[in-house]
Symmetry: C2
């Protein structure tokens, strides 16, 4: 089906930011971790910012970080931010109106697709970014990371007025902004 890795990348990006805490990450740092191009990351960050999940900052000390507490952001929020529009789609071209099946199949299928989407959303709603990060830890802690050369992810940086995304649909416990 949808060879859709956008969801996976988005969760990766947000998990990375949760890991790094208040430290704003540059698109190039994120791109290095995801193994892609910084512009691809910036495009995705734009979507996540519109949904109110991250805040970004231009300028020489700029970067992006989570807008909310990672324990308050669910994978459903991420899914909705990407506007995937459901697991399956109906016919592109409407079926024949002259066929007893064709004339009603879209209605019936619509019900089925909604059932599927609801099931997916219920699973995603039960998992937070914090959950993902927790499941990450057992394999290597922030303080004992190979290759990270003592980058102080939790270093204090007072980055003035990070701008939150416009929409902020679900105003969930904004702790930072």
């Amino acid at each position: 089906m949808s060879t859709n890795s956008r969801f996976a990348v988005a969760v990766h990006v947000l998990s990375l930011m949760a890991w790094s805490g208040e430290e704003p990450l540059k698109s190039e740092q994120v791109a290095d971790s995801v193994n892609t191009n910084p512009v691809v990351i910036r495009r995705m960050l734009l979507e996540l910012a519109e949904a109110g999940l991250v805040v970004s900052q231009t300028g020489s000390l700029g970067g992006s970080k989570l807008a909310n507490d990672p324990s308050q952001t669910t994978l459903l929020d991420v899914y909705e931010a990407l506007e995937c529009g459901g697991v399956f789609s109906l016919h592109r071209q409407p079926p024949s109106r002259d066929c007893p099946v064709g004339v009603n199949i879209e209605t019936v299928l619509g019900d089925v697709l909604r059932e599927v989407d609801t099931a997916v959303e219920q699973v995603l709603e039960g998992i937070t970014i914090n959950d993902v990060v927790q499941r990450l830890r057992p394999c290597g802690d922030a303080s004992t990371v190979k290759g990270s050369k003592k980058k102080h992810y939790d270093r204090e940086v007072s980055l003035p007025q990070l701008r939150a995304g416009a929409k902020t649909r679900r105003a969930k416990a904004l702790r930072t902004a």
Copy 2:
């Protein structure tokens, strides 16, 4: 995401055959109902035949019909026949091995994606082709169909040795073949 209407079309096709009963349908008839090209239908029928859901017949009285009782074929069977390979995908390019998040995110995401897929499959497994056809009926019965001009869908046709698909993964109650 995947603007994937293949699943919708496949369910449409199988519902049409369930509606028509033992009458084999030509790819052109099916294409008319779906509002697409006969070759597109034949390509999909090939996939459905490989999964053992339909049987086809070449030659002048040829066509395709259901291989099994429609009350025994679930939408999960259809989903698997199309080999969609899951709702979401992992990263195309593997993430950085030098990043504490990147090195483990695929494992964690794999678990999440499996949870999602399982939820989808449980919904699909609970719905049969017969259920879809039943939900279709309230809006017009086979005997009172406009434009069908008394086509006897349930007419007796002794079509010799329709060939079933090769794989037939789930050998569910073959009533016809």
